[in-house]
């Protein structure tokens, strides 16, 4: 049954709730966007203006100083490549491992699901701490200075496993049953029926993983010492921390644009992930809701 089968355009009246929704969501979006706009506008505003208020809503004195200092950083290209690799491969690995586990937990098979559920849940509560983790990666797995040192430790987020499992549980059992009647095994049912039905949640979880990999700077800080393998976030972290230290030893330089630089760094890091966003969004914002076809 598809949506367009039932076009009973009975009421073309304006639904108060739809109007209210539009107003409220627009209001909230404004509340979200204004500060973002502040960041973007500030990143193009000359430092001498920013130091008066700390932010700006319009670049009254336009300046590209920060962007210039970011993009003259010699390692910036390597950093984009590193980040891209970590994000793409990391998300693929993470999504595979997460989805498998989520399905097993969502099946509620006696003993098996409970066992794996507990196995997944406990790491949310108990953490071994930084030192053992560091020793594990450097002295047992010897992953230092490889991208795997960033990808593998972040490969499964228990939180996202359970989010995915909650979604899987919404899939009507009769769909699965009918597949089994046709003689499909567990694996086949999962791959051919469940996964295609689960595109929305796969898109969401993938998006969350991608964001996490893209934004990660602490794990690379721990394990990546080769500056050509620094991901973007780590490079920019260093840039912020160093803005004054570098200036202190330079002769005749102008004052470092502290405020502007931080804003510009935000823009530079957020940019690429925003480009990827619409691809994921297709799946989780319902294409055509009921409201679109019915009054």
């Amino acid at each position: 049954m598809t949506l367009t089968d039932t076009p009973p355009r009975r009421r073309r009246t304006v639904e108060p709730f739809a109007v209210a929704s539009l107003v409220v969501v627009s209001g909230f979006a404004l509340f979200c966007l204004l500060p973002i706009w502040m960041v973007i506008a500030s990143s193009f505003t000359d430092e001498s203006r920013l130091v008066r208020s700390g932010y700006s809503f319009f670049p009254t004195k336009f300046s590209l100083a920060s962007y210039r200092s970011i993009f003259t950083e010699s390692a910036i290209r390597d950093a984009y490549v590193s980040s891209l690799f970590i994000t793409v491969v990391g998300t693929a690995v993470a999504l595979t491992a997460t989805t498998g586990m989520a399905w097993v937990i969502s099946r509620r098979v006696p003993r098996i699901s409970a066992f794996f559920g507990t196995l997944t849940y406990l790491p949310m509560l108990f953490v071994g701490g930084l030192v053992p983790f560091y020793i594990l990666v450097t002295q047992y797995l010897h992953l230092e200075n490889t991208y795997w040192a960033v990808i593998l430790p972040m490969a499964v987020s228990p939180f996202l496993v359970f989010i995915e499992a909650a979604f899987f549980r919404q899939i009507p059992e009769e769909i699965l049953e009918s597949a089994r009647m046709d003689g499909a095994g567990e694996l086949r049912t999962f791959v051919r029926i469940v996964l295609p039905l689960s595109k929305p949640i796969l898109a969401v979880v993938g998006l969350f993983y991608a964001t996490a990999f893209w934004n990660e700077w602490f794990i690379p800080l721990l394990f990546i010492t080769d500056e050509h393998k620094f991901p973007l976030q780590l490079l920019l972290q260093n840039l912020i921390g160093n803005v004054n230290a570098a200036q202190a030893l330079q002769t005749g330089s102008a004052a470092a644009p502290v405020y502007q630089l931080r804003m510009a760094l935000t823009v530079v890091t957020v940019g690429p992930i925003l480009l990827a966003y619409p691809f994921a969004q297709r799946y989780f914002v319902r294409g055509l809701t009921l409201g679109a076809t019915k009054g």
Partner: protein, 523 residues
């Protein structure tokens, strides 16, 4: 519910993509594996703070070529950003990593590393006189300050005998308001109030959340502690916090009894707290001291929003703050040092360096570290590492000055600062030149009796962590002037008492007296 139409093809496509990714990643991964990070017989691994210098690849190449020829090994410098250096180096020490040397200091974890025996003693290397350049460029006084239980554990990296935390002011404004040169505390206060009165757009003094620790307790002066401007004869002990919160008996050097007291019992301190509170209420100080970071404060000074801020006598004042001249027409800066007697003052000094090179206990190449220290004590090597390639990165102005030509900036203070070898940047303002030069002379200081006293906090570490927490919560607001003095101080006192102040004082006294006795018998 619509039935899925083409699941298989979609899945095949996505799994093919996955496989491709997996292959690609395996290739990349293997490639990435090839460079290890451990030290080896011909590679010295060092931890340095900050961002990787612009153009480091080329200069590292030049340094390593020369090193290889001279000493037969190369260096592998691992740069860790400032914000993370402290926790990262501790993590590396704790996990038993085999790097060779690190930047270390009391504001990092020097005390704990000393008391836990994580560093390698260096006495032998100095005793055998095998490092003539190093011996000639690092003074015995500085070396003595990093002696612990009879052994030397660090090579101090200094371009001064003792760095004084002072301030930088806008000399153009001081002239404009007829104050002239700021020398005494009265001058300084007059300057702040004159700015407040005449320049409504300016905040007289910009202070950040880190240097707030330097406002009250003398080391050897507190910035707003007028009493210590007159009498800079004491160094308060920090003992586990970031500020000097313990005052030793001023006569401890002669009596041999340390008798530590909490800072508020020392003369001039409570008066200073009241003064800072007044500054806060009068709008002399920025109101957001506790939330301001040093980068922002310096940035704001550079843009002409603050009329004064903290500036040390480490030779970096002009380069750090001089930029204000390009933002504000006619602006000029001056270094102010908190001694009422000016250059005639003979303040106390522990000669403890703000930065040291230490050798990791787990390093198999201590000898290489010492050879490198000797090597960078030779002028041409020192210049190469510090300033880069001559003609390309920098240009000499005479024997002692230089001008930067590229953006190369090396954290020399973590490897090769030497009083006699450091060049100063061209264009240093006169007041800074005077004071920087003055601070290089060991004869201008009197030796503090606790010059190489390192407190082992292990026996009272629970109390120390509670004290640190109490200081953060109740002490810093007092030092920043954001709370009422009477009630704030009494809250601090009761929090300190609850944290076991007496127990810490006892332990401090025991260790300090033992130190004094040992120092006496050594003499």
């Amino acid at each position: 519910m619509p039935r899925p139409t083409m699941p298989r093809r979609a899945f095949l496509r996505s799994s093919a993509a996955l496989t491709a990714l997996g292959t690609a990643s395996a290739v990349f991964g293997l490639d990435a594996c090839s460079s290890g990070s451990g030290s080896s017989a011909d590679r010295l691994v060092m931890l340095l703070p900050g961002d990787i210098p612009v153009g480091w690849d080329a200069i590292r190449g030049a340094v390593n070529d020369r090193l290889k020829a001279d000493l037969g090994f190369t260096i592998d410098a691992q740069f860790i950003s400032w914000t993370n250096y402290s926790n990262q180096e501790l993590l590396k020490f704790t996990s038993g990593e085999r790097f060779d040397q690190a930047l270390e200091a009391r504001w990092l974890h020097l005390d704990q590393l000393l008391s836990s025996g994580s560093l390698r003693p260096m006495d032998g290397y100095f005793a055998d006189k095998a490092h003539p350049h190093l011996d000639a460029t690092v003074s015995a006084k500085a070396r003595a300050s990093v002696t612990y239980k009879g052994h030397q554990y660090a090579v101090p990296q200094v371009n001064y005998a003792s760095a004084i935390t002072g301030m930088v002011i806008r000399q153009d404004l001081a002239e404009k308001y007829g104050i002239g040169s700021v020398e005494t505390y009265e001058d300084f206060e007059r300057y702040l109030y004159a700015v407040k009165q005449h320049d409504r757009g300016l905040i007289p003094f910009g202070l950040d959340n880190g240097y707030v620790n330097n406002t009250v307790t003398p080391q050897p002066t507190g910035l707003f502690n007028a009493h210590s401007w007159e009498d800079p004869s004491q160094f308060f002990q920090a003992a586990g916090s970031n500020a000097g919160i313990f005052a030793m008996d001023p006569r401890a050097g002669t009596t041999g009894s340390s008798r530590p007291r909490p800072f508020w019992e020392a003369p001039g301190v409570v008066e200073t707290l009241h003064r800072i509170r007044k500054y806060n209420q009068d709008g002399i100080l920025n109101k957001d001291v506790l939330n301001a970071d040093v980068s922002s404060v310096r940035g704001l000074f550079g843009q002409g929003r603050y009329a004064a801020t903290v500036g040390n006598t480490d030779g970096l004042t002009t380069t750090t703050f001089g930029a204000v001249a390009s933002a504000v027409h006619g602006a000029a800066i001056a270094q102010v040092v908190p001694f009422a007697k000016g250059t005639a003052a003979r303040p106390a000094a522990t000669f403890q360096a703000s930065n040291n090179v230490v050798i990791n206990k787990n390093s198999a190449h201590a000898d290489m570290v010492m050879k490198l220290q000797d090597w960078v004590s030779v002028k041409e090597n020192h210049d190469l590492v510090s300033y880069g390639i001559e003609g390309k990165d920098w240009k000499a102005h005479g024997d002692s000055e230089f001008e930067t030509l590229s953006k190369y900036v090396f954290p020399g203070f973590a490897l090769c600062w030497r009083i006699s070898l450091e060049r100063t940047p061209v264009g240093m303002v006169d007041s800074e030149r005077t004071w920087f030069g003055w601070a290089k002379d060991y004869g201008h200081f009197t030796t503090d009796p606790f010059t190489s006293f390192y407190f082992d906090q292990t026996p009272v570490k629970t109390n120390i962590s509670q004290l640190a927490s109490a200081y953060n919560q109740y002490g810093k607001p007092l030092f920043a002037g954001t709370v009422d003095v009477a009630s704030g101080l009494s809250k601090l006192q009761s929090a300190f008492e609850h944290a076991g102040l007496d127990k810490v004082l006892d332990q401090l006294q025991t260790q300090a007296d033992a130190y004094l006795a040992a120092a006496k018998s050594a003499r």
